[in-house]
Structure formats: structure tokens, C-alpha cells
């Protein structure tokens, strides 16, 4: 990544005033990055940015309340930071934001599919439009357009919307805004009963690990989630589709008007359940109804926490 050195320099300058800077470094194999907590100068060297930096590091911010935290953000991640600021869950003065222009991150599920049963990954390089992966003794060239996450194809905010330090040149979104929900539209063209069956099938394999919830930067209830609570007692601990699906709807509804569409829920899901679809649908409706997008303006009020006496876009049916 072009701006990596610039970013490192920027962090090096700021680190003395910070308790920690959250960034990424190379993970357990060359194909995976991992969140990287920079506390000491020597930690900076391992920093890496690029299409493997899938994690939305904003998720860690509420847990570090009271500390001076630096955070490296992609455009989508910055929206989560903004949303957290808006909800008073973090303090602006405690957070130092490092932004860079993001050209998209990979979807590891797509990569896995493209590689097949390749075995051990030996190296991974990012060329201009391809990801070159050496695995099982062969070199695989994966076109980025095939392995980038879906969310990147509808991304409207490739640059951090809020940053104290921005490295590199800002870039413009690669897709027109109206195309953002094409994938949703395709799903919505399915007959109702197929959608109903689809979700039941998808939810059936949920293992209730709640990675979706815990990876979500906006799931701020953390240890007090309804999922495990008896009072209120919304869900049983039974392994049935109804409770598992219900949990995802609780998640989706609690994010209504707050979700920044970072896609962490879906990325974190070890069972690859397409959870982002639910959130996108919610966001689409919120946007249509209230012309509102979460995580764009730290001073905005989320639409479900406010109202208008006359709602322009709600046509109450003549019931």
C-alpha cells in the first residue's frame, strides 16, 4: 500500500501522546491481516494497510473508554467512529483518527472459494488489480474485482469522513450511489416463500457464537445483550431456527438507523450467514423514509430517536 510509510510516520509522531494506536498487521498467514495494537515504537514497523485489512477497528473503541486511543480507519470504519461519537459512547478528545483512501478490502469467503483446496498459503502480494497468492506450491492470480467484499462495490465513502490525520490523496467512490442496493433488489425479486425458506435455511446453521454481535461496532450493549438475558427473556438458549433468527432480527432492529454497513457481522460469522443483507434492507428503508445515513454526521440524531409531526414519506395506510 502506497501510503503505508506516510501513515507509520504519522503514527510515530502521535504515539507519545496516545495509550495505544489500533491498526493492522499481518496475521496467521500471508493472506490474513489482524488487528494490531501499537503501544511501543517498535510495534509500528509491523503495521500494514491494504485490501486484507478487513477488520473494523472502531469496534474496540467503546472498550477503551478513558484511554487516549489512536485508530486507523477505512472510510466505512470512520462512519462507525462517527456514529459512536454521535451516541456519546466515546469522546472526541480521546480519539485520534488516522485515515487513508481505501480501494476496497477482500472478502475472505470469496478468496477461499477462488483458491479452492489450495493448502498452505506461502505468500500474498497485491498488484494493481490482482491479488497474487502462492498456495500449495502454485501461484494464484485473483482479480480484485472478483474477491473484494460486496460492500466495497456499493461504497460511497472510500475516504475517512472524519480524520485527524489523513494520508494520501482522497479518492472518489467507484460506484454511483443508486447502484448501492442492486444486490438487495435481486434478493427482493425472489418470491416471498423462497425468502422465508432462505432465511430459515441460513439461520439453521447459526451456532449462536455471537461473533456477528461482538464484531459489530454499534453493538454497544456488550455484556448486557438480550440474547443471553432472562429478564427480559426474549430468547431461549435452545438451538432452534426461531430463536436464532429472532436474534438476528433483534440485532437488525437495534441497528436500525445506526448501522454504518461495515459488514462486520457477516464477515465475522464463521458460518458465513449473509447477515448484511438484513441490515442493508433496513438501511435502505431508513434512507428512503428519512433521507438518513448513519455515521455521516456526528451531530445528527438517529431517525428512530426522533420524529416529525408530519412525516413526508410515511403514507399511513387508510386502515
Amino acid at each position: 500500500m502506497k501510503y503505508q510509510q506516510e501513515l507509520k510516520d504519522s503514527i510515530r509522531k502521535a504515539l507519545p501522546d496516545l495509550d495505544v494506536v489500533i491498526a493492522w498487521s499481518s496475521g496467521f498467514d500471508p493472506l490474513h491481516a489482524t488487528p494490531h495494537f501499537i503501544r511501543r515504537d517498535e510495534d509500528i514497523d509491523r503495521l500494514e494497510i491494504g485490501p486484507l485489512c478487513v477488520h473494523n477497528l472502531a469496534t474496540y473503541l467503546p472498550g477503551l473508554r478513558g484511554k487516549k486511543v489512536g485508530i486507523v480507519v477505512k472510510g466505512c470504519d470512520s462512519r462507525s467512529v462517527i456514529e459512536l461519537l454521535q451516541e456519546n459512547l466515546i469522546k472526541r478528545e480521546d480519539v485520534t483518527i488516522f485515515g487513508f483512501p481505501c480501494t476496497g478490502v477482500v472478502d475472505q469467503t470469496k478468496v477461499r472459494k477462488a483458491l479452492g483446496n489450495a493448502g498452505r498459503v506461502d505468500f500474498c502480494q497485491v498488484a494493481s488489480q490482482t491479488l497474487v497468492v502462492g498456495a500449495g506450491g502454485t501461484e494464484h492470480k485473483l482479480r480484485l474485482s472478483k474477491v473484494l467484499a460486496d460492500k466495497c462495490f456499493s461504497c460511497q465513502y472510500p475516504n475517512a469522513l472524519l480524520a485527524d490525520h489523513f494520508v494520501g490523496e482522497k479518492i472518489s467512490p467507484s460506484v454511483a450511489e443508486e447502484e448501492g442496493y442492486d444486490d438487495l433488489a435481486a434478493f427482493e425479486n425472489m418470491p416471498l416463500d423462497e425468502r422465508f425458506a432462505f432465511w430459515q435455511k441460513e439461520m439453521d446453521r447459526c451456532i449462536r457464537c455471537y461473533a456477528c454481535r461482538n464484531a459489530c461496532p454499534m453493538c454497544v450493549c456488550r455484556d448486557h445483550c438480550l440474547a443471553e438475558s432472562r429478564d427480559p427473556h426474549w430468547l431461549s438458549q435452545e438451538d432452534n431456527v426461531r430463536d436464532k433468527w429472532m436474534f438476528q432480527l433483534i440485532h437488525a432492529y437495534h441497528l436500525a438507523g445506526r448501522c454504518t454497513e461495515c459488514g462486520e457481522c457477516q464477515r465475522a460469522c464463521p458460518m458465513d450467514i449473509p447477515l448484511l443483507l438484513l441490515k442493508k434492507k433496513m438501511n435502505k428503508e431508513i434512507k428512503e423514509l428519512f433521507q438518513y445515513e448513519a455515521g455521516v454526521d456526528p451531530a445528527a440524531t438517529p431517525p428512530l430517536l426522533s420524529f416529525k409531526m408530519e412525516e413526508e414519506n410515511i403514507k399511513e395506510r387508510e386502515w
Binding site: 416471498l192 416463500d193 425468502r195 422465508f196 426474549w234 432480527l249 428503508e285 420524529f307 410515511i314 386502515w319
Partner: protein, 154 residues
């Protein structure tokens, strides 16, 4: 749970205490005949209705859910139905992605004086649900029982 030998469908109503519950009372006082399917859960205000109650009710297998509150601007608590309107409208638009037929959930406003309107609302909603027929059920707590029977069969 078959409801009344298949004559009825399970329709659950969430009504605010001050307007719509009163409107349903007014309909009763006026002896405005209504279908018998609806079961009303009384809540203080439509603003108390967490949309998740509606989802939960549908997930539990209800065939229809009707929410009714005070007309906008008439909320006993001044603002409750304004919040409710947004939340319910979002839900109304959201449910189809899950595969729930759009007509299974409706929300409306009925004041305490509108007994006749309440009769019309209930009648129309019940007809709408009967037209849709019983809702498809989602595997719930009884699923493990089936699994056990399956195990026992082998």
C-alpha cells in the same frame, strides 16, 4: 395450536390504552359486531410497542398482527405515537425481506371515540388475514422434539 377448529386464525393486536383500546371498548359499547379472531394486548402507549414484539409474535406463528394507537398529535403522552409511527413504518417495510407477506402486519390509528372505525379496522384486517390464510410456521421449541422422535425411530 389450531384455533377454534380452524375457524379462526391467530391475530394479535397491540393497542394503546388511551385511544385504541378505548375505541375497541366504544365498539363494544355500541355492539358493533366484529370477527372473533383478534386477541388484544393492552399497552400504555403505541410508543411502548417495541417492533420486536411484533416480530416475536409473527415468529411465534401468529397469522396477523395489528397495532393501533392514538392518531398522530393525539397521543396521551404527546409524542409516543410519533416514535411509534417511524418504528412501525420501518418494520412494515422491513418484514417482506424476511418472507413475511406484507399484509400480515398493519398499523393504524383509532381514537377512543371511533368505535365504528374500530369495527371496520378489525373486520377488514381479519378478512385480509383470512385471505392470506395461516402463516407458515417456523421451527421453534418443538423442533428438538421432532429430532428426538427421529432418533427414536432408528
Amino acid at each position: 395450536m389450531p384455533v377454534l377448529k380452524g375457524k379462526e386464525l391467530r391475530i394479535v393486536g397491540f393497542l394503546c390504552n388511551w385511544c385504541s383500546y378505548g375505541g375497541a371498548d366504544t365498539a363494544g359499547v355500541g355492539r358493533f359486531t366484529q370477527p372473533t379472531d383478534l386477541r388484544i394486548i393492552r399497552v400504555p402507549c403505541s410508543g411502548r410497542i417495541d417492533p420486536l414484539f411484533i416480530i416475536k409474535t409473527l415468529m411465534n406463528g401468529a397469522d396477523g398482527v395489528l397495532v393501533s394507537g392514538c392518531h398522530p398529535r393525539d397521543c396521551h403522552y404527546a409524542e409516543g405515537n410519533f416514535y411509534a409511527r417511524r418504528r412501525l413504518e420501518v418494520l412494515h417495510r422491513f418484514l417482506p425481506i424476511l418472507g413475511f407477506e406484507p399484509g400480515r402486519f398493519e398499523y393504524t390509528w383509532v381514537s377512543a371515540s371511533e368505535g365504528q372505525r374500530w369495527q371496520q379496522v378489525v373486520t377488514r384486517f381479519t378478512e385480509q388475514i383470512h385471505k392470506l390464510g395461516p402463516a407458515p410456521k417456523i421451527a421453534g421449541p418443538e423442533a428438538s422434539k421432532t429430532l428426538r422422535q427421529m432418533e427414536a425411530a432408528l
